[in-house]
């Protein structure tokens, strides 16, 4: 890993971790459990479409998806090194993890940019 970007990766790790900690539990609880199980009334398709129309929602969703993905990349690469003792693969694992996060962020940007 090139040295100068280490602090940047670490910052995205901590920003993504904070966003995942503050915002993921409620989103996951509603979208993954409360709405599918009918505990609470899910928003209608029209209202979600309307929310997506708003630029602020799109910026919010982009941050909500991309930064936690970099947080994942940072932690997952250390699981692979330390957990599975793959120290000799350090560079390829880092490239794979951050690459996957970058692809996810790019997909989010494309989807949200093209909202008509």
């Amino acid at each position: 890993m090139a040295r100068p970007i280490t602090p940047l990766l670490w910052m995205s790790f901590s920003a993504g971790g904070t966003i995942a900690a503050l915002l993921f539990p409620i989103h996951l609880f509603l979208t993954g459990l409360a709405f599918p199980l009918g505990w609470l009334d899910a928003p209608s398709y029209e209202s979600l479409r309307g929310l997506l129309q708003h630029p602020l929602t799109r910026v919010y969703l982009f941050v909500l998806i991309s930064l936690p993905l970099f947080h994942w990349a940072h932690r997952f690469r250390y699981i692979l090194y330390d957990g599975f003792q793959l120290y000799h693969l350090t560079r390829s694992i880092a490239a794979l993890c951050y690459g996957a996060a970058a692809i996810g962020a790019a997909v989010a940007a494309c989807l949200l940019w093209n909202v008509a």
Partner: protein
């Protein structure tokens, strides 16, 4: 093994005992550490679910209906339940670590740990209420 010469730091002795891949199961602290790191896998899982949901909403009402029907299958309910527990674990360990990660000083005096952690929990609660309010309105 590549045949390229590569730099290795000087080491007087290279003897290392092999450690089992399951080393972290022997001790509660280690298990907590590994589970906390593993929570990131579920964070990524939910980020992908969010991408999938956005795509479904953009594609139209049928695609969105298909998405919600898929989330009602036992497989996704089970995955979401496990993911929710891991994300909660991540949130709690993250907020509890905040005082150690960030030293806040007010007029030269360090704020006590419980104030830093507590403000994180208050922020968590308020943000959750706002998001629930927005999503439950429609």
């Amino acid at each position: 093994m590549s045949t390229d010469a590569h730099y290795t730091p000087y080491h007087p002795k290279w003897y290392r005992r092999r450690v089992s891949v399951w080393w972290w199961l022997k001790n509660r602290t280690y298990a907590g550490f590994v589970l906390r790191e593993l929570s990131s896998v579920f964070v990524a899982f939910f980020a992908i679910v969010l991408l999938w949901e956005i795509r479904a909403v953009l594609e139209g009402p049928e695609a969105y209906a298909q998405f919600t029907a898929r989330l009602q299958t036992p497989l996704f309910l089970a995955l979401d339940l496990v993911a929710f527990l891991f994300v909660l674990f991540h949130a709690i360990t993250w907020f509890n670590a905040a005082p150690a990660a960030m030293v806040v000083r007010v007029r030269g005096k360090r704020l006590p740990d419980w104030v830093v952690a507590g403000s994180n929990y208050v922020g968590w609660f308020l943000l959750s209420m706002v998001i629930a309010g927005i999503l439950l309105r429609g």
